[in-house]
């Protein structure tokens, strides 16, 4: 019994110490500036905001600053112009850590639009 408890205890300890090291995934935040809402709110609610915005845009033609394109314009990495290219890319880091799987980027480009246009016009 004693052995079991100490075993469990050591397991817990090692887990917490592991989590402690990487509790917050390091993210490539992109351009910086001011988010569309405050950071804490965005952490909690960005998915609701995006899903609301998508219906507003697709169904009613309302194209506002909460658009996914706008998020990407800001949050895409300054190194590769993408929010999904690397493990620490903005829309990847947290989701990997939290085991969230999104399919948005099967259709949506993860690239900053200005960079995408530049690339297309260079072709």
């Amino acid at each position: 019994m004693k052995i079991l408890v100490s075993l469990l205890l050591s397991l817990c300890l090692s887990v917490t110490s592991w989590a402690g090291e990487s509790a917050v995934p390091k993210l490539d935040m992109g351009k910086g500036g001011q988010c569309v809402k405050d950071t804490q709110w965005m952490r909690k609610n960005h998915m609701h905001m995006l899903k609301h915005q998508r219906d507003e845009t697709v169904r009613k033609g309302i194209r506002g600053e909460n658009s996914l394109k706008n998020c990407i314009e800001c949050h895409a990495s300054l190194k590769d112009d993408s929010v999904i290219a690397r493990e620490d890319s903005f829309c990847v880091g947290c989701h990997r850590y939290e085991a969230v799987k999104i399919d948005c980027f099967e259709c949506h480009s993860g690239k900053r639009k200005s960079a995408w246009l530049q690339q297309r016009n260079a072709k």
Partner: protein
């Protein structure tokens, strides 16, 4: 689709509306769409295509559409084609004409009628769209469309235009370049046509160029017998 069916549908709509809208005095169960001034019901986008100006062999509208929307340009049955050039011939007279075919943006779209998820829908400004977030890829709409205007995405895609998300497993078709219209632009095909055969505009605004033109010259809707009241009209056929 006969008039009787349209009336029946309207009756059902009103009956449902009367039951649902007045939950309590002055309180609406659901709100009428309010949004983009384009999309509040005053505007009806449409096109007048002049088959006489459209040149056989010219493919500019198709190339422009492919570039704008990120289509491969392939014409195999499994490739997406949002607009096609077709050449038709009147066998009795031998007269040939060339014209672009795409989604006709019906007022009473059969694709919307058959969609089981509400993904196919008509925006209040008359643009018929697929809401790909709701599309399950069943393809009923493709079968219902008398113009064969819709395509299905069979393969995974990459490097899409940020303005035009597209992906495997969903149906798609001409959007009238909705992403451009909402910014005050016009569809890529209309802009690209060097023969000025595609006139885009607001059918509901009596002062628009397109309204004035259809007031003056004879124009028709394709398969007008179906009573779909298409937003795309043709002259010179």
């Amino acid at each position: 689709m006969s008039d009787i069916n349209l009336q029946r549908r309207n009756f059902l709509k009103t009956a449902a509306g009367a039951a649902m809208v007045s939950v309590a005095p002055g309180m609406l169960l659901f709100d009428v769409a309010h949004g983009n001034p384009n999309a509040v019901g005053k505007v009806r986008w449409g096109m007048l295509i002049d088959a006489e100006s459209c040149k056989p062999g010219c493919n500019d509208c198709v190339s422009a559409c492919n570039k704008e929307n990120g289509l491969s340009g392939g014409t195999a049955p499994t490739d997406s084609q949002w607009i096609r050039k077709i050449e038709i011939k009147d066998v009795s007279t031998g007269r040939e004409v060339s014209l672009p075919m795409m989604c006709q943006h019906c007022e009473h779209p059969p694709c919307v009628d058959v969609c089981p998820t509400g993904a196919s829908f008509k925006r209040v400004d008359g643009i018929v769209l697929v809401d790909k977030h709701r599309c399950i890829g069943c393809r009923y709409c493709m079968m219902a469309c008398p113009y064969k205007a819709r395509s299905f995405v069979h393969e995974p895609l990459s490097d899409q235009n940020p303005d035009v998300p597209r992906g495997k497993g969903t149906v798609e078709s001409c959007t009238l370049c909705v992403h451009r219209i909402d910014q005050g632009g016009q569809p890529a095909c209309a802009e690209a046509c060097t023969n000025k055969a595609i006139l885009f505009g607001d059918l509901n605004d009596p002062n628009s160029e397109i309204s004035k033109k259809i007031h003056e010259v004879a124009s028709i809707q394709l398969r007008a017998d179906l009573g779909l009241n298409t937003g795309i009209r043709f002259q010179g056929l």
